[in-house]
């Protein structure tokens, strides 16, 4: 049984600098630093002391509020620094742990309970092993009730995403080519984290591509896996969007839960449950117009980002983004490190040039949702991209582009007017919580209004009011 998921709304980007499908191994880092603030915004506490020797995969920090969230050491070495977290709220300064590699040893701490036969692993063992390997936070549960998926009960559906549509994110064929067998077994192992056979929706693209066909053949005999083909239109990988499209009616049941993971996590789950391997490395895409040779890199968590990017960047003023161009965070701090859930390092040119009569240029190479540039006659040609705001901030002129492009089907211009006039309740009624956070409304707004940021703040305000 297969499904074709039609995305009712979305946007295709044509920016140069997408990563090639190869994966290059980065050398073992000399030292790693793990921030005690986990990407899920949960604070962890160090469980090791300065001077302590640690093995690759050994637990070095864990959260007291959410015990399923743990940090593991990415290398074998000695702990040289543990800085505690201090301050609160805006003045919070998360601590970190620094581990320095000693020699060339890479001794892995393997988890107990691994088995080459998935059927021999119980639900409880599978979950405990994934937690100990630092993999549990990579499973996202919707509706979201906490920072990590609940360890009690079972989800009613599993979703595995092999597609990324946000520009410069990792390519499914880089991660999965030559690893189809491991991926197939990873899916079996992932299933073991739930009781019984939970339906698994496999989100794929390009049905005619060789990799997709290979995967299709590999999973063919499993009735509990439903391949779903989707076009690479942003935001195809957005969990909330997929939740609505896949489960629609069923999602209205308050007890309905679904788990979302990506292909990389499935491979890691397979390695963990089959061989006890902890999650210590990431396959990142290193891409963007400022990267000389965009590709994927396998790198240990905690490595210096500067080392990963060394020698890869074009000259000029660049912006390094952790994640994608619409949702990623600009890296501004010195000595930034790879995080345990990072997916991409996107490098963009800063666009500070002041173009003469910029607003009347024919723009054959400019991307626009409107059809006001000559680029409309070259739909597949690569577009110029940089970080210039491309206009001055203006009041909302009700052009309606944000509503036209919004995949969630809400009215961003209406919500914006509600939020800026302190009508939070009306914003809630008009669907603020349905916002996917994809950033498309902000991308298209001609008045350059920071809609995504407004909605993020609005959703946070709503959540606080409900507490």
């Amino acid at each position: 049984m297969t499904d074709t998921l039609t995305l009712p709304k979305g946007y295709c980007f044509h920016f140069p600098g997408a990563p090639d499908a190869r994966v290059v191994d980065a050398p073992l880092p000399d030292d790693v630093r793990l921030g005690l603030m986990h990407p899920t915004q949960v604070l962890t506490v160090a469980r090791v002391d300065v001077g302590q020797a640690v093995k690759t995969g050994q637990i070095v920090a864990e959260s007291e509020a959410c015990p399923a969230i743990k940090l593991v050491s990415p290398i074998t070495g000695k702990v040289t620094e543990t800085v505690e977290t201090h301050g609160i709220k805006r003045a919070l300064k998360p601590g970190f742990i620094t581990i320095v590699r000693e020699g060339d040893e890479d001794n892995w701490e393997t988890g107990e309970g691994a088995s080459e036969t998935p059927e021999h692993i119980s639900v409880e063992t599978a979950r405990e092993m994934l937690i100990q390997a630092g993999l549990w936070p990579s499973i996202k549960e919707l509706p979201q009730a906490g920072p990590a998926a609940s360890t009690d009960g079972d989800p009613q559906a599993l979703v595995v995403k092999c597609v990324f549509s946000e520009p410069f994110m990792p390519k499914g064929n880089a991660i999965l080519t030559d690893h189809v067998d491991e991926f197939e077994r990873g899916l079996e192992y992932f299933q073991r984290a739930t009781s019984g056979y939970t339906r698994l929706h496999l989100i794929l693209t390009a049905p005619m591509a060789k990799l997709t066909q290979d995967i299709g053949k590999a999973i063919h005999s499993r009735a509990w896996i439903t391949p779903c083909y989707v076009d690479r239109v942003y935001p195809a990988e957005n969990d909330k969007y997929l939740f609505k499209l896949l489960f629609g009616e069923k999602a209205r049941d308050p007890n309905f839960r679904a788990w979302f993971v990506d292909a990389q996590t499935v491979l890691a789950v397979g390695a963990c449950l089959a061989h006890g391997k902890p999650s210590v490395e990431r396959i990142l895409s290193v891409a963007g117009p400022c990267v000389k040779s965009p590709e994927h890199v396998r790198v240990r968590v905690g490595s210096k980002i500067d080392d990963v990017l060394a020698g890869r960047l074009e000259p000029g003023e660049n912006r390094i983004v952790r994640g994608g161009v619409l949702t990623g965070q600009k890296i501004a701090e010195e000595d930034a490190r790879i995080g345990p859930m990072d997916l991409a390092l996107t490098v963009l040119p800063e666009g500070r040039e002041r173009e003469f009569l910029g607003f009347v240029r024919p723009g054959a190479d400019r991307d626009s949702f409107s059809r006001t540039f000559l680029s409309v006659f070259r739909p597949d040609a690569p577009r110029s991209m940089h970080t210039n705001v491309r206009g001055e901030p203006r009041p909302c002129v009700s052009c309606g582009y944000c509503e036209d492009i919004c995949p969630a089907g809400i009215m961003p211009h209406w919500l914006y007017k509600c939020l800026t006039t302190d009508r939070l309740e009306e914003a809630e009624q008009m669907g603020l919580e349905l916002c996917l956070g994809c950033g498309l409304c902000t991308y298209v707004c001609p008045s350059k209004i920071e809609l995504r940021a407004e909605f993020k703040a609005g959703k946070a305000a709503l959540a606080m009011e409900k507490e």
Binding site: F356, N388, G391, Y401, M411, A453
Partner: protein, 361 residues
């Protein structure tokens, strides 16, 4: 363009001085006109669409250029004079308010300044044009808070003001259209021709003389407001506006369709009051109003179903006002009246959407 950039860079510090600081918005507007700003994104959305409000408004002006060309051909250089007065006075009023409010000068008045003269009789006195545009910008837009906050179309507010305040000057402002290879393009017609030769098709229709054929109405060699006579060129502009997705097609299409249907239905019932449907669309300012005035995104509804309703009501109201009131032209008042109803129509749509979102949450 380095020398120009250097001039701006050298002039900027002058506007930091206390005497000139209130007028910095003028410098900023001029600087931003010539050189796109060099600001970079600060939030997590690191790249942006290339369209900005300046270009958005420029597209509207480009769409109006065919109608402008027609107005120059038919009615001569005086139209240019009206446009200059309109930009100068409208710009001054806008700048005054921006200086007082310490806000940036917005591009909205570039559109108002162009469209306002195109809805005036070509021989309107300059002082009437100046008063009209000043009234329109000040009371149609600025007192409500400036661009993005006005409920009424500023150009139509100005037009309404001069219509009511200076009816004699309006009536004497009609000019017979030129003909031939250059038409009136090189002529300067300073006052209205006699009432017989320059009566507009709507004035004639009110007397009971319907047009013989559609062709002059399409091409535009009839009398009327400066930019409204050539239905064909306005349509071309309209198609361009909608094809670029700057104008929402639902508004002009629903206005024209509903006006046509209303005339079709009502003409047999009141043949001496209602203009036949096939002429209704192309006479007077209906086409111009439907394409350029009603599509103003700030004053029109912001939801698609409301836009359709808005268009339908404007079209029907225009036909009714033309036929059953002493007014010859109904489109101006129809649009202004529906500007008032636009938020109500949006609220109705929002109420329906609210229920849909509640189910999804």
């Amino acid at each position: 363009m380095r020398f120009l950039r250097t001039i701006f860079d050298k002039t900027e510090p002058l506007f930091e001085k206390p005497l000139l600081r209130p007028f910095k918005c003028i410098f900023d507007a001029t600087d931003a006109f010539f050189f796109a700003p060099g600001h970079v994104t600060e939030s997590d959305v690191h790249v942006r669409d290339a369209l900005d409000v300046k270009r958005y408004m420029s597209i509207v002006i480009v769409a109006a250029l065919p109608a402008l060309a027609a107005s120059l051909y038919f009615f001569g250089l005086r139209v240019l004079g009206l446009i200059l007065v309109s930009y100068a006075v409208g710009g001054a009023v806008e700048t005054l308010f921006c200086v007082m409010r310490k806000e940036e000068i917005s591009e909205g008045f570039l559109v108002t300044g162009m469209l306002f003269p195109l809805v005036l009789p070509p021989a309107t006195p300059y002082w009437v044009c100046a008063l009209g545009v000043a009234f329109g910008v000040a009371f149609g837009k600025e007192i409500f808070g400036g661009t993005g906050r006005n409920p009424f179309n500023p150009a139509l507010v100005g037009r309404c003001f001069v219509f009511i305040a200076y009816p004699k000057q309006m009536a004497e402002g009609w000019v017979a259209p030129g003909a031939g290879p250059l038409g009136n393009a090189l002529k300067y017609i300073s006052s209205g021709n006699d009432a017989v030769t320059s009566a507009t098709p709507l004035i004639e229709a009110a007397k009971g003389h319907m047009p013989d054929s559609i062709v002059p109405l399409l091409i535009g060699n009839v009398s009327g407001s400066a930019g409204e006579t050539s239905a064909l060129l306005i349509l071309i502009g309209g198609v361009f506006l909608c094809a670029t997705q700057v104008g929402n097609w639902r508004i002009p299409v629903s206005i024209l369709a509903s006006a046509f249907v209303a005339a079709l239905v009502l003409h047999p019932m009141a043949p001496d009051k209602i203009i036949p449907a096939q002429y209704t669309l192309f006479m007077g300012g209906l086409m111009f109003g439907a394409v350029f005035m009603a599509t103003d995104p700030v004053t029109a509804p912001c939801t698609n179903p409301a836009r359709v309703m808005y268009g339908i009501l404007i079209g029907v109201l225009t036909v009714l006002l033309r036929g059953f009131t002493p007014l010859n032209e109904g489109i101006m008042f129809a649009i202004l009246l529906m500007n008032i109803f636009a938020p109500l129509l949006d609220e109705a749509v929002a109420g329906i959407r609210c229920r849909r979102y509640a189910i999804q949450r």
